[in-house]
């Protein structure tokens, strides 16, 4: 699965920047993010033309003719062919508009969707799938008469058909709140809860996709996530994430993202912790690190990213502490695994370093045990090697080091002597205020718990490094205080 996906990814340099630009411009619109994946799909489609024929835009008369042929044709092949032609035409937004404006067209299509001719049914579903790709919410809303049938078919047995229905539903969900408002009372949550027990990997992946789109809706925290949490879906999702021979990476990716959308909405995370989310995700993290070491790394970051996010957010829940008064996630191997992943990100996907460091912060903030692990496993130096990557990464690395240092003298002694002080002198030369500010905090802790550091600091022109920032409003007070400490010490 991993290598197949990799092979299909197209060069993405401009695509990535375009995506970022769009996301920033439309910040309040969660919808925009989801549109992004569908919009780019359509823009690139004319270049693909892999089928050997470029679909033409269909006019009203042609749409009507194809529909009539599909409905009333005498030969089954002829009827199927008419729907295939219609489907190709529906790749064009203009044809989609023409279709929905034609009276009775959706009714006919729904009729074909529910016909007893299985192949016509399949082609009709493909036409609907084409319509679901539209960016216009009016087109999605025109598909409303079909949704009860799409949901009904989820409890059938034809896995290809179910997969198609799920992707269609997922696309329609993204596009229109009216569609979601209809799907919820129509029972989409119980339908998905039943469908998730399918043994077919392709169905599960499609279900994960549809569910992830549902969970990203802006009204999800109030209107959707509570009923999902009340269903058996969370338990099944966690089952799909358990490492072992049955773990399918493509399926796991989808459900990890679903979990992330649920968790970051903060509706009822203790419930998920009660279902064992922390230990499942912790074990999965170990598994991912193992995969990296075996260099089975194609597409691993796709799964690592949501797992890191889920773990990080779950660790902020008070419920984490309640089981025996200890943190549920205590295994030192988690830290080892995280660093293996950090190294992987450093080499392959530096933009994900902040996400890994976020987890490291949440692991170490309130845990003397994990801070001790960082020291005993010699992970301070590798951590320092990440400083040059970016300002965001620098601030996070320094924050983690502060987490260790603030635990007291026993911890600071292990940070001294070593590369820490020279590194701090280096980061004090940065221009970024946040990086410098965090460096000052760390320096303060080091001076407090390891007074010998002061002399060395002075000898290595530390005062000059400090004074560079004495005019900076956000840093002044701390610069002054440190200067006093150094001069008195």
């Amino acid at each position: 699965m991993w290598s197949r996906r990799r092979g299909h990814l197209r060069p993405t340099v401009c695509g990535v920047e375009e995506l970022r630009r769009r996301r920033r411009e439309q910040e309040p619109a969660r919808r925009e993010q989801q549109l992004v994946s569908k919009r780019l799909l359509r823009e690139d489609a004319p270049e693909e033309a892999g089928e050997g024929c470029v679909a033409a835009i269909l006019g009203e008369a042609e749409v009507q003719q194809f529909l009539r042929q599909a409905q009333r044709g005498t030969e089954e092949k002829e009827r199927e062919g008419a729907l295939v032609s219609l489907r190709r035409g529906l790749q064009h937004p203009e044809t989609q508009q023409t279709f929905i404006q034609l009276e009775g067209s959706m009714r006919t299509l729904v009729g074909l969707l529910t016909s007893n001719q299985a192949l016509l049914q399949l082609e009709a579903a493909r036409c609907l799938h084409e319509l679901s790709h539209s960016e216009q919410s009016t087109i999605a809303e025109a598909c409303l008469p079909a949704t009860s049938y799409l949901l009904t078919y989820l409890s059938g047995h034809s896995s290809d058909f179910i997969e198609l229905c799920l992707y269609t539903l997922g696309n329609l969900i993204v596009e229109s709140e009216a569609v979601r408002r209809q799907l919820l009372p129509q029972g989409i949550v119980p339908a998905l809860a039943a469908c998730i027990q399918s043994p077919h990997v392709a169905v599960l992946e499609a279900l994960g996709y549809a569910l992830s789109q549902l969970l990203q809706a802006k009204e999800a925290p109030e209107k959707i996530i509570p009923s999902i949490l009340a269903s058996t879906l969370p338990q099944h999702m966690l089952q799909m994430l358990q490492p072992g021979p049955k773990l399918n990476p493509g399926v796991a990716v989808e459900f990890a993202w679903c979990l992330h959308y649920i968790i970051c909405s903060q509706v009822s995370n203790p419930l998920l912790i009660g279902h064992g989310a922390l230990s499942t995700l912790g074990l999965l993290l170990l598994d991912l690190a193992g995969a990296v070491q075996r260099t089975e790394d194609a597409g691993l970051e796709l799964l690592a990213c949501p797992v890191l996010r889920c773990l990080s957010n779950l660790l902020t829940e008070a419920a984490v502490e309640t089981v025996g008064g200890q943190m549920q996630l205590r295994d030192e191997r988690v830290v080892a695994a995280l660093f293996i992943l950090l190294q992987f990100f450093f080499q392959k996907q530096p933009s994900l370093l902040p996400e890994g460091l976020w987890l490291l912060n949440n692991l170490t903030a309130n845990s003397p045990s994990f801070c001790t692990s960082l020291l005993s496993l010699d992970l301070i130096e590798p951590l320092l090697q990440l400083l040059p990557v970016s300002n965001v990464v620098s601030v996070m690395v320094l924050t983690v080091l502060c987490n260790v240092a603030e635990k007291g003298p026993a911890y600071c002694q292990r940070l001294w002597p070593g590369p820490l002080l020279p590194t701090l002198l280096h980061t004090l030369a940065f221009s970024d205020t946040e990086v410098v500010g965090q460096s000052l905090e760390l320096l303060h802790l080091l001076f407090l718990y390891q007074p010998e550091a002061v002399q060395v600091f002075l000898q290595q022109s530390g005062l000059q490094a400090l004074e560079r920032h004495q005019e900076e409003a956000q840093l002044q007070d701390r610069v002054y205080a440190l200067r006093q400490t150094a001069l008195q010490g």
Binding site: L41, V84, S115, Q121, A336, A337, L377, E406, K407, R478
Partner: protein, 286 residues
């Protein structure tokens, strides 16, 4: 980024918790102007921190959707016919046959040969159309189960259920898998009220409708030319039993009741198993 060599060994070794070094905080650590406090950080939905990872996710999805949108290249085989008795469909691709089989022969009612998209709908159909005991019970209590999975509401009549489906679940008024049964028994009070009523052979048919919707019921089309004699006989037996019961006939009552129950409801497990397979299989359950 260089990792210590022992790290991989640590990952491979068993679980363990590091014995923490003693914690000893000085109050001066948090004294102004210093403000560092060690705390776990939470990022809510839509936080800009997630931007880069979200972009990667969308690129991945884009790739997945592209693969789904392309209709699959079907590997062709020499033409073959469906093996189910009475079905004349011919195929030249295994995927097509698989879909055909699941759609038309997967959840088939052994009594009337209607095909249903799911076991759930088939169950409801059999109860409501072919179980005379159901009809009797429904006169005394709400028996018509809502068709939406997860909804436990029950209703007195199929009309009431349809109203519920439309009002509460926003189902279409002409939902094709909820046809009210045509009256056979003179004693039943239920009036099928669906304006889109069709004759029996058409639970999943719509093909003869014109493009501009018309309410006129389409002519009946049979997809199965074969009717097993034993099934017709069974149907008649059941109808006779139900009429006898209604008329309070005691003569055949116990025997016909027992026979009736055994055939329709008694052996639930065997019954369910069989009706999903070829129609002939039903006989072996008796």
């Amino acid at each position: 980024m260089q990792l210590p060599p022992a790290l991989c060994a640590r990952l491979a070794a068993g679980p363990g918790v590091a014995e923490p070094l003693p914690v000893e905080r000085d109050p001066a650590a948090g004294a102004a102007p210093f403000r560092f406090v060690a705390r776990p950080v939470r990022f809510p939905r839509e936080h800009e921190f997630f931007e880069d990872g979200d972009v990667q996710r969308h690129l991945y999805l884009q790739d997945v959707l592209m693969q789904v949108a392309d209709a699959p290249e079907k590997p062709r085989v020499p033409a073959f016919a469906c093996q189910v008795a009475g079905c004349c469909q011919v195929f030249d691709a295994l995927d097509d046959y698989e879909h055909h089989y699941h759609t038309l022969h997967g959840n088939v009612c052994s009594f009337c040969k209607r095909a249903f998209p799911s076991g759930h709908l088939l169950d409801a159909h059999i109860l409501e159309w072919h179980d005379s005991l159901f009809q009797i019970l429904s006169e005394r209590q709400d028996m018509y189960q809502c068709l939406v999975e997860g909804c436990t509401e029950k209703f007195k009549t199929s009309r009431d259920r349809k109203d519920h489906l439309v009002r509460i679940h926003l189902y279409p008024v002409d939902f094709r898998f909820d046809k009210p049964k045509k009256n056979r028994s003179p004693a039943s009070a239920e009036v099928p009220g669906d304006s889109g009523e069709r004759s029996e052979g058409e639970a999943m048919e719509i093909c003869s409708e014109p493009v501009a919707a018309s309410p006129a019921p389409a002519g009946e089309r049979r997809t199965y030319s074969h009717r097993s004699v034993s099934k017709l006989f069974l149907k008649h037996v059941l109808n006779v039993c139900s009429v006898l019961r209604i008329l309070g006939c005691t003569l055949g009552r116990c025997a016909s009741h027992t026979e009736f129950r055994k055939v329709t409801l008694g052996k639930k497990i065997g019954f369910r198993f069989c009706r999903r397979r070829k129609s002939r299989c039903f006989r072996s359950c008796e």
